[in-house]
Symmetry: C2
Subunit: 448 residues, 2 copies
């Protein structure tokens, strides 16, 4: 078996793997990237880009409705899901192509095939089209990501029961849709289908829509979706099965309640892809929930092997994966350096408007909350998107921002300003003294 | 004449005056606000809000066009300028009402009437409905703003020749429109009418569209407007006259070139409103261009009188006025304190997409420029708004950002992140290390 020598081998070409490989390449390391998907990984090819295309369509349809009252009346629209399918393909290709170019510019070698760690410094690459070969490296970063989780009696069938990856294959916008899952993905698709005309029912195991988001913000957002999109949420209703019965789909909860709709959609979570190793060959430590155990720098129990992204636990988001990737590469380059500790990162659902959070929003002694509605913002009113809120958690003694959550137009960009402040210990007082553009959504921070 | 005692009298209820009064009130000063307009000033009632309503309509119409290819085809729209007029009234009322409430909460007393400074500590208030009275105060902040500038032979006539304030009265979207002025206002209306279907020709005195913006960015934006909206720009063509001839408008340049269109629009600048004083009574120093001369804290030559906003010069923007207002109030409260110096603020035209700049973009030794296109951003591509750019000016020795300019979706919010970095001496290296939300427009900063 041929063998090639590198400084770093990265397994997985999704957001975490791409970021790790590119950043390491730019920093001068000789890097090999191994993946059995094209550049972009499952995120680009089957989850993130497809969902964003559905969401972009839904958002433009929202815009068409908002037009009324602003100075024109739209005459309606005709859906063309063929366009959407084509766009998903094109956008995936585009996103993948842009990243491939950047990776090539950073000198990264891309290896298409299954990557398996066969020793602490060795990754075996197998692809159907060529003989297997091995890559040796001082360091390995595992970024193999995750795949959707289904239940024995709740699986997509591409007929009436769908899931994110195959959503584009849906032949029509369902008249009624039952969505299993109230996390980020379930919420995004529930919104998208509702905006496109479905009567959507969401069944979720937890008590709160988007359980990782501040409860007050999540509840305000749930009410927003209920009011504007007529989505019905059922908390504490985890599904046990989802089956097609003729032209209908019946979802049954663990408490034996049934919900019927024209179509079903399953987004109940993701499981880490651990196909990169055999426990007998590599003594890699896993957590109780079968995630790869890591320290704050991304190191596994095997000192030269790092893991980033979904295989290391929740939240399984591109943002977290990218941040972890940079921290891991920095640690490989510089060794122990407390300054490398991960900073605050944003968690978001890219509905319209988006809902997002950064940092911790638990109430605790010595902190206070500030809530600011969007309806006091000229920009939000002018856009016809005056619903929204920003909630901040401030430490009383020094005014530092410990967390922020909310929803509203441009919200993920607005949180970028707060993220920068949080990562650089800029107090809320100092932050709000900055005269942000008027009118802009970011003024929600600085408004007096 | 009755007389009332205050800590601070603010003349003018536009962005600068409102901010000064509210901020001072919140800081515990007893504040009187004098204005012959309702709260909001000319900005809310005749320039900023009306233009933003036109722009919001144009942007939604853009969205309708962008729909095609994303998964649906819009069936067109019917303009209803009555809706737009009504919305401008409602939004002005809303913006004014929100601010009035905030001012009242800050304990500010609003005095409707003409304010005239009759002595260094005295402002006389005259209104038709009641006897004149006077307000005395330790300090006075003048924020009387500006009004549109016209020429003897180029004035709006509310028939075929319009200007921002009376734009809502236009009976139809012109088939062809000649716009005089290539500054922020001229550009905003040129875009809005073009997006709504007019064939727009812009005549401007300067060589560059938006002369205060970085030349490379302004030129890229000009080409964008030309390509997508078929707007024709004529640099170096200041108008001498604009007259209606039957159903046509003829604009004549100082070089005697004529341009004909169905309608004309004049946005050639603004002049400060100096009606608050008589030079014989108050020895207030003016600059050569008849602006109120101030120091970096907003002090005029009369020590207890400050001036902020449009009467102090260009750029005549709400952002600058607000920032100056805070600096002036801080100076009143704390006296000389170098830390109070004004920070960087954003200048923007709120077209779709917006174009904006912060700081200085002149090439100089020891600095370098970085240009990042939006077409590498997943979010911009997904939104169907992949055209745009960010240009940064970086100081080489310490990596500090000295300026940023560009255009693109959400650009004013993205600039907020850079503004915070610039005002807190956060280097570009440190800024780009922050993992901003993915996918978001702000990633244009952090993309590897």
């Amino acid at each position: 078996m041929n063998s090639y020598q590198y400084d770093l081998v990265v397994i997985g070409a999704g957001p975490g793997g791409m970021e790790a490989a590119q950043y390491a390449g730019q920093k001068g390391l000789k890097v090999a990237l191994v993946s059995n998907t094209k550049i972009g990984g499952r995120a680009v090819w089957s989850s993130l880009v497809p969902s964003k295309a559905w969401l972009a369509l839904a958002e433009k349809i929202d815009g068409l409705r908002q037009l009324s009252g602003m100075g024109a009346n739209a005459k309606g629209y005709e859906l063309d899901l063929g366009q959407l399918r084509q766009r998903i393909g094109e956008q995936s290709q585009l996103a993948s192509g842009i990243r491939l170019k950047e990776l090539e510019a950073a000198g990264v070698h891309f290896n298409f095939g299954n990557g398996k760690i066969t020793a602490t410094h060795t990754v075996k690459v197998s692809a159907e089209s060529e003989p297997a070969y091995s890559l040796s490296a001082r360091n390995i970063i595992i970024a193999s990501g995750s795949g959707p989780r289904f239940l024995p009696d709740a699986k997509p069938n591409k007929n009436r029961i769908y899931a994110p990856k195959i959503a584009p294959a849906i032949p029509e916008i369902p008249k009624s849709l039952v969505v299993a899952g109230g996390g980020v993905t379930g919420t995004e698709y529930a919104y998208a289908f509702a905006a496109l005309g479905s009567k959507v029912t969401v069944l979720q195991s937890g008590d709160q829509l988007l359980p990782r988001v501040d409860a007050e913000v999540a509840e305000a957002f749930r009410l927003y979706l209920e009011r504007h999109y007529n989505i019905t949420f059922h908390p504490g209703k985890a599904i046990r099965s989802m089956e097609q019965q003729g032209d209908k789909v019946v979802a049954t909860t663990i408490s034996n309640q049934t919900f019927e709709a024209d179509y079903g959609f399953i987004a109940i979570g993701r499981t880490p892809d651990l196909s990169f190793f055999e426990p007998e060959v590599l003594p890699l430590e896993l957590t109780a929930s079968k995630m790869v155990a890591i320290d704050e720098f991304g190191r596994t129990n095997i000192p030269n092997i790092y893991a980033v992204g979904d295989i290391t636990g929740t939240p399984m988001t591109a943002n977290r994966a990218s941040m972890q990737a940079r921290v891991a590469v920095q640690h490989i380059l510089e060794g122990d350096n407390r300054k490398l500790r991960p900073g605050y990162f944003i968690e978001a659902a890219y509905t319209n408007p988006p809902i997002a959070q950064i940092g911790d929003m638990q109430a605790e002694a010595g902190t206070e909350f500030i809530v600011r509605p969007f309806n006091g913002l000229l920009k939000a009113n002018m856009m016809g998107e005056a619903e929204g809120m920003l909630k901040l958690k401030i430490r009383k003694n020094d005014g530092h921002i410990l967390g922020a959550a909310g929803f509203g137009a441009h919200f993920t960009d607005v949180l970028g300003i707060i993220q920068l402040a949080m990562n650089n210990d800029i107090s809320f007082e100092k932050l709000r003294a900055i005269p942000l553009a008027h009118p802009s959504i970011s003024e929600v921070i600085s408004v007096l």
